[in-house]
Symmetry: D3
Subunit: 249 residues, 6 copies
Amino acid sequence: MTRHDGRRPDQLREVRITRNWLDHAEGSVLVEFGRTRVLCAASFTEGVPRWLKGQGTGWVTAEYEMLPRSTNTRSDRESRKGKVGGRTHEISRLIGRSLRAVIDTKALGENTIVLDCDVLQADGGTRTASITGAWVALADAIEDARAKGLIAKDAKPLTDSVAAVSVGVVDGSPVADLDYPEDSTADTDMNVVMTGSGSFVEVQGTAEGAGAAFDRGLLDQLLDLATAACADLTQRQQASLAEPVRERA
Amino acid sequence: MTRHDGRRPDQLREVRITRNWLDHAEGSVLVEFGRTRVLCAASFTEGVPRWLKGQGTGWVTAEYEMLPRSTNTRSDRESRKGKVGGRTHEISRLIGRSLRAVIDTKALGENTIVLDCDVLQADGGTRTASITGAWVALADAIEDARAKGLIAKDAKPLTDSVAAVSVGVVDGSPVADLDYPEDSTADTDMNVVMTGSGSFVEVQGTAEGAGAAFDRGLLDQLLDLATAACADLTQRQQASLAEPVRERA
Amino acid sequence: MTRHDGRRPDQLREVRITRNWLDHAEGSVLVEFGRTRVLCAASFTEGVPRWLKGQGTGWVTAEYEMLPRSTNTRSDRESRKGKVGGRTHEISRLIGRSLRAVIDTKALGENTIVLDCDVLQADGGTRTASITGAWVALADAIEDARAKGLIAKDAKPLTDSVAAVSVGVVDGSPVADLDYPEDSTADTDMNVVMTGSGSFVEVQGTAEGAGAAFDRGLLDQLLDLATAACADLTQRQQASLAEPVRERA
Amino acid sequence: MTRHDGRRPDQLREVRITRNWLDHAEGSVLVEFGRTRVLCAASFTEGVPRWLKGQGTGWVTAEYEMLPRSTNTRSDRESRKGKVGGRTHEISRLIGRSLRAVIDTKALGENTIVLDCDVLQADGGTRTASITGAWVALADAIEDARAKGLIAKDAKPLTDSVAAVSVGVVDGSPVADLDYPEDSTADTDMNVVMTGSGSFVEVQGTAEGAGAAFDRGLLDQLLDLATAACADLTQRQQASLAEPVRERA
Amino acid sequence: MTRHDGRRPDQLREVRITRNWLDHAEGSVLVEFGRTRVLCAASFTEGVPRWLKGQGTGWVTAEYEMLPRSTNTRSDRESRKGKVGGRTHEISRLIGRSLRAVIDTKALGENTIVLDCDVLQADGGTRTASITGAWVALADAIEDARAKGLIAKDAKPLTDSVAAVSVGVVDGSPVADLDYPEDSTADTDMNVVMTGSGSFVEVQGTAEGAGAAFDRGLLDQLLDLATAACADLTQRQQASLAEPVRERA
Amino acid sequence: MTRHDGRRPDQLREVRITRNWLDHAEGSVLVEFGRTRVLCAASFTEGVPRWLKGQGTGWVTAEYEMLPRSTNTRSDRESRKGKVGGRTHEISRLIGRSLRAVIDTKALGENTIVLDCDVLQADGGTRTASITGAWVALADAIEDARAKGLIAKDAKPLTDSVAAVSVGVVDGSPVADLDYPEDSTADTDMNVVMTGSGSFVEVQGTAEGAGAAFDRGLLDQLLDLATAACADLTQRQQASLAEPVRERA
């Protein structure tokens, strides 16, 4: 089986993680999965939302949005429509939950980190790229807070890493990291979020349309593919964090 | 292991499916999973949304909402807040996708069926009860359309049934059909939608909070529980459809 | 003169008041006027809105809404439209005012009771059924608060009962408790809210369309009909409160 | 009994009806009931809303709004709040219904007249002043349309006139045309809309707060007061229409 | 060159400034530039918005809006559309900035003045009439506050006056104070706000459409026209403030 | 006089114009004025808005928005707030008007080009960078349409170029292209949009706060600075268009 861009079934697209893409944000990453390009900005602020006050715990949340011309044809802005669409809400909530799965909110103290994931260009896998990039921006924001003395020197708010990948069935074969042409023809589409240590954080599998329901055997194959792909992404996240950050001109 | 209400780990709450609960709707079901009570109304209308026109295919969609006092403490109405929340959107989309997985839209013709799932009382599992009940209301609406000649006598828009159940880990043990007290303390929470013939339509598993990520072994156990529970629910749906509908007073 | 369903001009439809229909709410009633079916939930919370704070008085308010398929053809949800319609606002305000007419807010203390009236099925008279049922739910919520020690043992926040009925001119004859077919053809439509002791709380009479204006004689006839009907409803409310509440399974 | 401004119980405030206050509108009236000042503009447009098309009938509707500083203390604009309040909707609907009670929509043809009633200064009775003034603007707009040949020479879309007044119980006595100080202390408040020929179009009586419910005798007294006051306002409307309209400088 | 209404190129339309047009507002002006008629109400309240608290400085802001039938054809209300349009926001902000240019916020103390500019009739120049009228209302509101002891006897919050005029190129000639027919055909349109002492507060020049860009020489001519016109308006503002205010009937 | 970053008063920041930054858009530019970074995407679609149909003319419009973390501290998203702020509207309208000043809409035919200007990083001058970059994206989109045969080979919809710069008074001295630290302390701030041939399209000068009004001499100096700076930007735009566009990896 050959994929339309020549990849093996289990092969990721080219992944690039550019840290410190912004000057103001406490952490920022331009993450690219092939032509998918997402700007992830981590904003650290002291204090927590009202409903958390006085409990000694922090908060991590996320907002995802697509620029109007990130896609093939222009979409209207949600700000102009006056409301945020269901898909946008759903992905924002997924990113936030995924990151909170590796955050010790006690160790974070009463601080809030917001991850803004803005899709500059979309070619499939924007939510999984967002999670993968946002975690790196989050890690940088936590180090920045530590350097500024906003959290304790020995606090360990990050308990693990998280990365995410999409897997699905294209032309009858299970493949990893679908691009837009693959995604739009896939029968089954699954997004899997895993920790660096190999546990599942989210498993979201969907059969799109009549007759696409999948059996347990296929589900197991997809989970195997996702497990391998997330392990690969975890290595790239660690490699990126190991590099010194280039100074912007 | 004993559950707080005395159920075995794999035991569903009492399930009641009352068809024809409304006089106007083409199909309607009051579905109860224990104290969770959802009113599912299927509205059949000729024609399709603009973006589908002229393609000879129909459309099935769903809207989910909770009454303000369905819960322990009153929530503000989304209509008064002027916007629909992320969770509401997410569940509405899930219900719609689940039903479309067993709909042959060509066989439906250019007709639309909207499933309104209004939660009258919430005690955990409102989305899975909604899917399970909505499918029965959908089946009734299709028979009603057939009886009125709105779809062909021999058309088979329904390719299968769907039912859904939540499974999760409570106090370290995998259990099925969590009620609210269980749901609010569960580490891992998974909603599974399956067809009557035993395939997966949706698998949505979530680890809630740090340290809750789950391994493959546990994931497999949860999928086993869900498979058995959905088979049980499928039988109850069929039994309900087999009964003559009582006439309302 | 014979009405289309065989009732006498002054005859109410079958009225059913089912208390305790919900498990969570402090008071709840499923009220039915014929096929019109409204779920009234009373939510008692300590404290008052900001503008009332520190004055030692309580607050009672109401929100009315129709489920999308309560009617013959489906209506869009107000939450999805992003705004609450004029009719919904108007009826919500009417219900709130009607209940406050029999509430001694001093005796209630700094507590708030919200009455949610959700129309599950509409067949005319939804606002009058709402008021009639909401008052019973309100009475139950006050007793519940008394039992929990949230209001004083001897406090009497309820100064009287309220009930409501629609009256109108159908085919030239004044009739009480119009159902939807009658309501939609009536020239004159009047909603009357009265206390248990026979005084008027609200009188809202409307001539629908050109030539429907009514003279004083007809107005007097309609008020007579409404007075008798409200007295009847008052008896049913008292009878319902006198019954022990059945325990839900 | 003396009213705080020296009026007799049945005495209206000084009423001024200034026609043609605007240059663009097809009909326009600045109506003053004492210090209450409302600008009523009638806009005539060919065509009707979509739901009325092709039926050969016209449409009359109204929108009421208060300027932010029409009142003693400034209120926020509804446009800035992003939603129209319940009271505004309710009054807009009342004005529209009242005018439609004297419109033969067939005779109007497929034309729409919108009445904008903007309260420039509020001192009680803004809705009744609006109705009274709007009818004169409506009459002018119809004559303007006749002059322009937009409706037939001999068409009679106006079947009668309408005027409105508030009546209520202040310090225990029934009085007509309450100003703001009276209105804010009244136990009972009733707005009555009547045709020029003395029939009722709307009767809206409200008991404000506990203990304010009113008996049939008082209701009769209030209706008597309103009948006399509306007859008086009808004369002023006719006198105003009889005057030649001054040309604006 | 003759203008369509016979004015000289540098001639203003008839300007009328009627103070105290409202009874409740701390300052109010009906300002007329020919047929353009704007009601400017100044509302003085103690306290400042949250973000200014505790700094010892006051705040002046403005809200502009057009009545639906101020224009030739009726426009929908922004309150009904649920959002405020770009033009409305832009002009509101311009008026606020213009007034703040002559306010010493320290001398004002922690008080807020809101200027509501509601266009009753529009015939070009509504924003410049608003600024010119609003300044007079602002001056009156400050004197009113001084008289009530809300600001110190010797405080001088007003450092200067402001007035505004539109200038533009009509049929190739630069003219001042464009009315609607001129404005709608002008190539270049410039709004200029100046202080009483002759300095610029705002200069907003716009070339409307292709080929309308203007050169420096023309820009200089327009600025000369505006300077003379603003000086003229300044005199009228001072003359108006010098008059005793007529008592309203 | 030395500027905080060592620039001469008339010196622009480093300007970079990167064409073709996106794969999908018909034209796209990442424009940088120092640390200010704006992504400008031009979307060409056949057809025009309804109000322009059938007139044989095209339409060019723009939408501007800032990413939440483009600024020093995070701002809430306008999509989440449910409304677009006044400043966003104002700048969107400015960009659209500026571009239309050099568009021959007849030559464009019935086609629409939307320019999305999303600020990725803000350090002053975001609106002027947007205009300068958007024009280049617009030029590319027009060439793309020509290449695809969507507009005629010899049509010349672009009549000129436009560029924009901010000028202002910082520490008493007029300077060009203010960065954020300069902008936030400037007394006077002026945005000037000019055509490539040296005419003015927009002049927007504002005195911020009391005492900042500026005299004619200063205004002249600022206009001189802007004229020189726009000429410089025009050269850079032309140089950028002259370069072959690098192929993206």
